[in-house]
């Protein structure tokens, strides 16, 4: 009974075959059951995420957060859902009805689909396909499609602007993200999630910390969260692409965004923090999801910490940061990792990790040096362009004289 999920699946398979069903049909029935259970579990976590997010943001902003509905306000998200369900659904004038309706569905479905390849335990995974990383990239861009559809179909200029910005942002940060994803793939020699987790006897964050940082930054951009939230910048374009959405349709976008953040955290944990790895997980596989969620929520907390601490950046700064800094850095890291990996064939694990870690730190050091030089030049340039303001005491002394 060490692995309840698979033993239940075996038991069901036995019962179904005793009913005389064919092998193929049984696989499909079990698949449907698995999908429904996995998706429901993820959606329940998603509903709880609303409470977690609101409670933590309240702490960041020195407030209490929801504390009226249920103990510590834990029932707040349920109240929210009920409210969203009974709200009127407004269809704006001139909207493209079909696309307008289907966009929130795709937004949430795309995030749900990502959970198919997240390994929860050594034996518990939706589908252990051998191209999981490519699958993540492919399904991840479906979310972008939903945002473009929502922005375009709303017949609203703010929404359209938000959608345009999202396109520029997401396709830009996709590049360093994929390169950063290549690094664990290269180290594990596989695109399968289970193989990558199994290969992490040393967590990859200790081998290639720089790749983890690049993936983290580009994931935040991919999520469209502050400091990269120009797609829904409140002070400029009100709510961006979902400005015309009301009721449950808005709720789906909101839920999708929160769940996407957790999903990205789970993927980062899987690829760099050892996924389900932890003490005693081989004996008791059910501990796997516990470890995975602890790690995921840690990454999720980091994302929130950044979200509520940083100001928004401008679109040109953001694209510049991506194309002129993050992409070259990621490519440089990939080259170094590839060459070192080949050179270090046959050395012991300890030497391998130390050399890799050292190389990463060297790249970070070089980057900091280059950035420093750039900052010095830039500061000089800005200093020349804009002369410093005239000190105010000449004016104040005149005022004093007039009195």
């Amino acid at each position: 009974m060490s692995d309840p999920v698979n033993s239940i699946a075996e038991w069901l398979r036995m019962i179904l075959s005793s009913w005389g069903l064919s092998e193929g049909l049984i696989t499909v029935i079990l698949g449907v059951l698995g999908v429904v259970i996995l998706a429901s579990f993820v959606l329940i976590v998603d509903i709880m995420l609303v409470w977690i997010e609101r409670k933590i943001v309240a702490r960041f902003q020195d407030r209490f957060g929801p504390n009226r509905v249920g103990p510590y306000g834990v029932l707040q998200p349920i109240a929210d859902v009920i409210k969203l369900l009974i709200k009127e659904d407004i269809m704006p004038n001139g909207a493209d009805k079909f696309i307008f309706n289907i966009a929130p569905i795709i937004a949430l479905a795309a995030v749900l689909l990502l959970w198919a390849v997240v390994p929860l335990a050594p034996t518990i995974i939706g589908a252990d396909i051998n191209v999981a990383v490519l699958y993540v990239v492919a399904i991840g861009s479906l979310g972008t499609l939903a945002i473009i559809m929502a922005g375009w179909a709303s017949n609203n200029k703010y929404a359209l602007l938000g959608a345009f910005r999202t396109v520029a942002l997401l396709i830009a940060y996709e590049v360093p993200m994929i390169i950063a994803l290549l690094v664990p793939v290269l180290l594990a020699r596989s695109m399968g999630m289970q193989t990558i987790v199994a290969a992490q006897s040393t967590w990859y964050i200790f081998v290639v910390p720089l790749a983890a940082v690049i993936l983290f930054i580009s994931s935040i951009a991919e999520l469209g969260r502050t400091p990269f939230d120009i797609s829904e910048a409140e002070s400029e374009i009100v709510a961006g692409f979902h400005i015309e959405y009301t009721g449950m349709k808005f709720g789906l976008f909101y839920a999708g965004e929160l769940l996407h953040a957790l999903t990205v955290s789970a993927l980062i944990s899987t690829l760099f923090l050892g996924g389900w790895r932890g003490p005693f997980v081989d004996q008791v596989p059910i501990l796997g999801p516990v470890y995975l969620f602890i790690k995921s929520f840690f990454v999720y907390y980091l994302i929130m910490w950044i979200r509520y601490s940083f100001p928004r950046v401008r679109i040109d700064q953001m694209l510049g940061f991506n194309w002129k800094f993050l992409t070259p850095l990621a490519l440089c890291l990939l080259i170094v990792v590839a060459i070192l990996d080949k050179l270090l064939v046959g050395t012991s694990q300890a030497v391998y990790v130390l050399v890799m870690l050292g190389a990463n730190l060297m790249i970070v050091w070089a980057t900091v040096l280059i950035l420093r030089k750039y900052a010095r030049v830039e500061r000089k340039r800005i200093g020349e362009e804009r002369p410093v303001a005239v000190p105010p005491d000449t004016e104040s002394s005149e005022l004093v004289g007039q009195e």
Binding site: T27, V28, V32, G34, V35, V36, A39, L43, L85, I86, K87, E88, D89, I90, M91, P92, N93, G94, N101, P104, L108, A109, L112, L113, A116, G126, A127, D128, I129, V133, L134, Y135, N155, N156, L160, F164, V167, I171, A172, V175, I179, L182, V185, L186, R189, S190, M191, V238, E244, G247, M248, G251, L252, K324, T327, P328, L331, I335, A338, K342
Partner: protein
């Protein structure tokens, strides 16, 4: 292996059903009283002016082009990374050369000023 792909297929079919169900419930129980004022396009209280579906800035198109080149070239690197054990040092360096061509392209468009948002 095949079972895994069946699972993905089932997931692809079922995943849109969950949010669709969530949209079905308000359709049954939520009030529906649209009026011209309510369904007006929200642009901060000012009446909307002109066409919404305008032409977009060419800059977006250029960035999309740059992205496309990078994305395609990086997809070629995935098999290279998966088959890393079978590669000789020469093949690895060839892969590095491939990346260097990418980098050269990046620096070219950088110098050309494509990356400036104007």
């Amino acid at each position: 292996m095949l079972n895994d792909w069946i699972f993905i297929g089932i997931f692809l079919l079922l995943a849109p059903i969950f949010p669709a169900l969530a949209l079905l419930i308000p359709r049954l129980i939520a009030p529906r009283k649209p009026n011209p004022l309510k369904t007006e396009t929200y642009e901060c209280g000012i009446e909307t002016y002109g066409e919404t579906w305008v032409q977009f800035k060419v800059q977006y198109y250029i960035f999309a082009l740059v992205f496309l080149i990078f994305d395609i070239e990086i997809v070629f690197l995935f098999p290279w990374a998966v088959a890393f054990d079978q590669l000789s040092m020469f093949a690895v360096l060839e892969g590095v050369l491939f990346i260097m061509i990418l980098v050269a392209g990046l620096f070219y468009i950088w110098r050309k000023g494509v990356l400036e948002w104007v």
